[in-house]
């Protein structure tokens, strides 16, 4: 069996670069195919607010130059690629002179914190429920009760979010309704801030976990049940192994593999944020930023966020490619 070879790592890195480059190119092309000129649109919006603006044609030209929209398309493209490599995403169209990368840098940690915690929790709880639902040795009454925990999966999570805010924030006043941390606290490694962060996180995390764990549970249940009929499961029992060992080392160990792939992909998608949840809870993350970008037709901002999403997904796939052969010996580092 071949271990992790430099050749394999290089090839995976190559795939990574190729994916990101293709993604970046597509988000460069698409806005330029769309009808309308974002700069002109912005200036006319300003005019609508301020009444009349002098020299609007010159202003438009100056701004086009400022945003690098005046050169031939391939010059724009090369400049764009160079900027993307340096994670320089230019100025935000709607909140000039803010830099898009700074706005993203401000929002990303909140989203990553919120979504990684809720995705991992959902994965753990969902898979546990699913595995127990599929395992014949679990007492029948437990297996009958488990599906009730998945009732909320059928509710759209923004609805659940609104419900949670109403019940726990406004009626019971257990948790704050919006924001990522209390007013007047400064982010840092101090106890009041961390406590406030956790309190603010409970409702959004809950709304995501409760509505998404059904996805994991059903997948896991299906895998466990399919796995039951495998010859190696019967042999494991014939060997007289303890049920816990048969369950974990033979059942779960084989059923978890496709789940891990799905987990990696959802972790990769975190960079895009969860727009609805962040909007409902006014959580200052990527989803909220994306919402603002769309509302204000802020192309550079949208581009930046989508680019982060591509980067995140490609990174997740890269890590998955490096890890999977360790989890599943049948996948070799050769291919």
């Amino acid at each position: 069996m071949a271990g992790l070879t430099p050749r394999y790592v290089l090839r995976r890195l190559g795939m990574f670069v190729l994916t990101v480059w293709l993604g970046a190119t597509i988000i460069f092309i698409i806005p330029r195919l769309a009808p309308g000129d974002p700069v002109a649109a912005m200036v006319s919006r300003l005019m609508a607010q301020a009444g009349y603006i002098e020299n609007s044609a010159e202003i438009i030209a100056a701004w086009r130059a400022r945003f690098g929209l005046d050169g031939p398309i391939w010059v724009q493209y090369l400049a764009y690629l160079r900027n993307m490599v340096m994670l320089d995403m230019g100025y935000s169209l709607s909140s000039f002179p803010s830099q898009v990368d700074e706005m993203i840098a401000d929002a990303l940690p909140w989203t990553v914190g919120l979504l990684s915690v809720s995705t991992l929790l959902s994965f753990l709880i969902g898979n546990t429920i699913g595995a127990l639902m599929g395992w014949p040795r679990v007492p029948a009454w437990i297996r009958a009760l488990l599906p009730t925990t998945l009732t909320f999966t059928s509710i759209p999570f923004f609805m659940l979010g609104i419900l949670l805010v109403y019940v726990f924030a406004y009626e019971l006043r257990w948790f704050p309704p919006t924001g990522a941390y209390g007013r007047g606290l400064s982010p840092g490694w101090n106890w009041p801030f961390i406590k406030s962060l956790a309190q603010h996180g409970v409702l959004p995390v809950m709304s995501i976990v409760v509505t998404s764990m059904g996805f994991w549970a059903l997948g896991m249940r299906g895998m466990i049940i399919t796995n039951q009929g495998e010859d190696y499961m019967i042999l494991a029992e014939a060997k007289g192994l303890r049920p816990s060992r048969v369950f974990l080392q033979y059942g779960i160990r084989n059923s978890i593999l496709p789940q891990v792939t799905a987990l990696a992909l959802s972790l990769g998608g975190i960079a895009g944020g969860s727009t609805l949840v962040e909007y409902i809870f006014a959580y200052p993350g990527m989803g909220y930023l994306l919402y603002q970008g769309i509302v204000n037709t802020d192309y550079t901002l949208i581009q930046g966020i989508v680019f982060m999403l591509i980067l995140g997904t490609a990174t997740a796939v890269l890590i998955l490619d490096l890890l999977l052969p360790i989890l599943d010996p049948r996948i070799s580092y050769e291919r």
């Binding site: 060997k239 007289g240 160990r253 010996p329």
Partner: protein, 337 residues
């Protein structure tokens, strides 16, 4: 020929000279289906003596695997043991609870499964799959001791020591089969059940695996139930043959007499249809005449295909009786009950 009922295996006690390790009495295993019970094993009785290999033959679907799994108490749902006794050194396995069963499995009875290709856990190394059987029953062992033991075992079935660290997908079919054989004897069980250990292998590898089994038997003196349809292989390996047809045992005999003079009409057809190199023989068994296992006809199970069928065969179930020394057959041709 006339024989009294007391010779029926159900009432026969071990003679004392030969040690019986396993006695199966009137075993019934049914599969529940929406249209009625499938009687996969129906009133089957036989015994296995110390150090002998008994072949269990019969066409596909006659209940061989179900019999084997019943002995291990591993009949898969919707199947269930409906009746009978399975005595291992006098202890009835049918009455044991889960924990007691776990102690007996592998230490006393082990299995070489029908699908050796898929019987190894794809994400565990061979050493761990053999090791967990040892450590479950004997407790934690020093790493060195465990390794030595597994390596010795692999050598015994003719596998190179590199197999120790390998994963199942890195082995050929024959190698996997031999890993399964090695695994089955690791705890020195009293009885090994080998379910078609050579089907799905090419002829050369079949021979090698067959020889491995024989070697194992000779060196360890274990008793074995060898399931298969390959009469040629049976002739080489086994001491006695049990012939099953549609869930019932129709003949049980020492291998020499059975090949020389098969008694039951089904056995006769089975022997006649063994292909030989010199002449091509047509398969005598007519397809499609077998009954539905859910709804067996009254009387003999073989009546629809039997060339010698009489009225009695359609009414009275022929019991498995000893009609010659060491030969039992379930057929009205040989007795008058």
């Amino acid at each position: 020929m006339s024989v009294t009922l007391s010779h029926q295996i159900g009432e026969r006690r071990p003679a004392g000279t030969e040690n019986v390790v396993l006695e199966v009495h009137n075993l019934k295993v049914y599969y529940t289906t929406p249209t009625g019970d499938v009687r996969a094993v129906d009133d089957v009785s036989f015994e296995i003596r110390e150090g002998e290999i008994v072949g269990l033959v019969g066409e596909s679907g006659c209940g061989k695997t179900t019999t084997a799994m019943a002995i291990l108490r591993l009949v898969q749902s919707p199947g269930r043991i409906v009746g009978g006794q399975i005595l291992l050194d006098g202890q009835d396995l049918v009455r044991l609870n889960e924990r007691e069963l776990r102690e007996i499995r592998w230490t006393r009875i082990s299995l070489i499964p029908q699908g050796a290709m898929n019987s190894l856990n794809p994400v565990m190394r061979i050493k761990d799959q053999i090791g967990d059987a040892i450590e479950t029953h004997e407790g934690r062992l020093p790493r060195k001791e465990l390794q030595e033991r597994i390596l010795k075992l692999l050598a015994m079935v003719g596998l190179p020591s590199r197999v120790y660290h390998m994963y199942p997908h890195e082995l050929s079919g024959g190698m996997k089969q031999r890993v399964c054989i090695a695994m089955a004897i690791v705890l020195n069980p009293t009885l090994v059940i080998a379910d078609e250990p050579t089907s799905a292998l090419d002829v050369v590898v079949q021979r090698v695996v067959g020889e491995t089994l024989l070697e194992v038997k000779n060196r360890l003196g274990v008793s074995m139930i060898l399931i298969g349809h390959d009469m040629g292989l049976m002739a080489q390996l086994v001491d006695r043959i049990a012939v099953m047809y549609a869930g019932r045992l129709v003949e049980l005999s020492d291998v020499y007499s059975l090949f020389k003079e098969p008694l039951h009409p089904y056995t006769q057809l089975l022997i006649e249809s063994i292909p030989s190199i010199k002449e091509r023989k047509p398969l005598k068994l007519t397809e499609g005449l077998t009954h539905d296992l859910r709804n067996p006809p009254p009387g003999c199970i073989f009546q629809l295909r039997c060339p010698h069928v009489t009225d009695k065969c359609r009414e009275v179930v022929p019991p498995l009786l000893e009609v010659q020394p060491h030969r039992r057959v379930a057929c009205h041709l040989y007795y008058d009950v």
